[in-house]
Structures are given as structure tokens and as C-alpha cells.
């Protein structure tokens, strides 16, 4: 396994740990919001993601997975078949829509994911993949800043709006 593959494997392991922590959070929340169907769906989704990550990691570690980089399901960003298959143009459009959304978002500390212009996972996947692909350090910083990474937007002209600019 190459150093690059090892790094991606570590990324997936971290993602698995995060899914497990999220699941614990949702289960804790379920104690306050009983009989919440949407919450149960979210819990099931995290369980399903955990199973998918575990299977992915197991396959990688046993080296059974061939051509993992060319398989959209196993690209960085998680085992979501519906994400990661977008073309560059689609990814840039998702990011541009999110950048425009940031410019006009209403006040509030926590909002429902349904407010976002695209699925949150799709936005994150698009941003992660563009960070990997992007050669320009300032634009990588802007992309990271759009996710909320500290200092990501500092020194980048235009701030969040710059996420929406096409090269």
C-alpha cells in the first residue's frame, strides 16, 4: 500500500470514528425527542454509513479492493454512491451555489440541513475533492474556509463570495 493510500485509509478511519461519535450524539438527542421519525432516519443513516466505512476499511486492509481510486464510491469524501460522481463542472456549481448561499444566509446559531442549497454531504464532497484538485493555495484556503476551517478565509479576497467565482 502506497503512502498516499495509507493516508486515505487513515482518513476513512477518522471518518468512521466521527460517524460513531455522531451516532452517539443522535442517540443522546433521541432521549429528548422520542418518536421523532426524522431522527430515527438520521440514526439509521449513520449506522448505514458506519457499516459502509467498516466494509471499505476492511477491504482496503485486506487489499481486496482493486482500483479504489477509480471507483466513485471509494473516493475521498466517504462511501456515498450519490456523491463523488459529479463532474468538475457539477462540483464547481455545487460550491458556487453554497458560496452564494453563505452571502445571504439568515441569522441563527444552528439551522436545519434542509436550508442548504444542496445535500450537506454533496457540498462537503465537492469541496474536499476540489481542495485535492486545486493547485492554487489561496483558493484551497477559500475552499477550506467555506467549510468553516479556522483562518481558511483570511487573506483571501472576497471571502465566502470567492467560493462562487469560476477560474
Amino acid at each position: 500500500m502506497s503512502p498516499l493510500q495509507q493516508k486515505v485509509l487513515a482518513l476513512f478511519k477518522e471518518a468512521l470514528a466521527q460517524e460513531q461519535r455522531d451516532l452517539e450524539g443522535w442517540e443522546e438527542l433521541a432521549r429528548f425527542q422520542e418518536n421523532d421519525f426524522a431522527l430515527q432516519v438520521a440514526i439509521e443513516r449513520h449506522r448505514s454509513n458506519i457499516t459502509a466505512y467498516k466494509s471499505l476499511i476492511e477491504n482496503w486492509e485486506s487489499r481486496k479492493a482493486g482500483g479504489v481510486w477509480s471507483n466513485p464510491r471509494t473516493r475521498p469524501g466517504g462511501p456515498r454512491a450519490e456523491h463523488g460522481q459529479e463532474s468538475v463542472e457539477e462540483r464547481l456549481r455545487i460550491i458556487a451555489d453554497y458560496g452564494a448561499f453563505l452571502e445571504r444566509r439568515p441569522r441563527g446559531d444552528v439551522w436545519d440541513v434542509k436550508c442548504l442549497p444542496h445535500d450537506k454531504g454533496a457540498i462537503l464532497d465537492a469541496i474536499y475533492l476540489e481542495i485535492v484538485r486545486e493547485a492554487d493555495a489561496a483558493r484551497r484556503g477559500a475552499l477550506g474556509g467555506g467549510c468553516g476551517v479556522p483562518g481558511g478565509l483570511s487573506g483571501v479576497r472576497g471571502g465566502p463570495a470567492d467560493l462562487g467565482s469560476r477560474r
Binding site: A15, R107, G144, C147
Partner: protein, 86 residues
């Protein structure tokens, strides 16, 4: 406020850390005593704290993934990037 602050099952209205929108006319028009009473009596505090913890965890996850993505990008040849990401 960024991606981690968008969570599932929040509903149509946002959750406020102090239970109220401090900039809204409904709040600013109150007397200081009433404002304090409103913030002190925030019934959604526990709910906000639960969501806040989840958002914090997700923020850390996003941070790790962004760093990993940056490292991947630096370590990958341009022709390989084009082959993989289009």
C-alpha cells in the same frame, strides 16, 4: 456559521444559543429586565447544547478532512489528479 452548524431534524426555525435572536425587534424592544428574564428562561438550552456538541465534533471532522485533502493534493501529480477528478 458554516456547514457544521447545519444539522438534521432542527426544523423550520433556527436554534439560538441564548434562545432568542438578540438582534430582533421583538427582543430589542423589551426592557433590560425582560430581556434578561427571557434569556434566563431559555427552554431550549439543553437542545442547543446537544446540537452544539454535535456541530463541534463535525467541525473537527471537517477540519481533519480538509487538512487531509490538502495533503493529498500536494502529494499527487497533476496528471493523476486529472485522471481521478476530471
Amino acid at each position: 456559521m458554516f456547514l457544521a452548524d447545519y444539522q438534521e431534524c432542527v426544523g423550520d426555525q433556527p436554534i439560538w444559543a441564548l434562545g432568542v435572536d438578540l438582534e430582533s425587534a421583538d427582543f430589542t424592544s423589551l426592557s433590560v429586565d425582560d430581556q434578561m428574564a427571557k434569556v434566563a428562561g431559555n427552554p431550549g438550552r439543553e437542545r442547543y447544547e446537544t446540537y452544539s456538541r454535535m456541530a463541534g465534533k463535525e467541525r473537527a471532522d471537517i477540519y481533519v478532512r480538509v487538512l487531509a485533502a490538502e495533503e493529498l493534493g500536494r502529494g499527487m501529480r497533476e496528471d493523476k489528479k486529472r485522471e481521478i477528478f476530471g
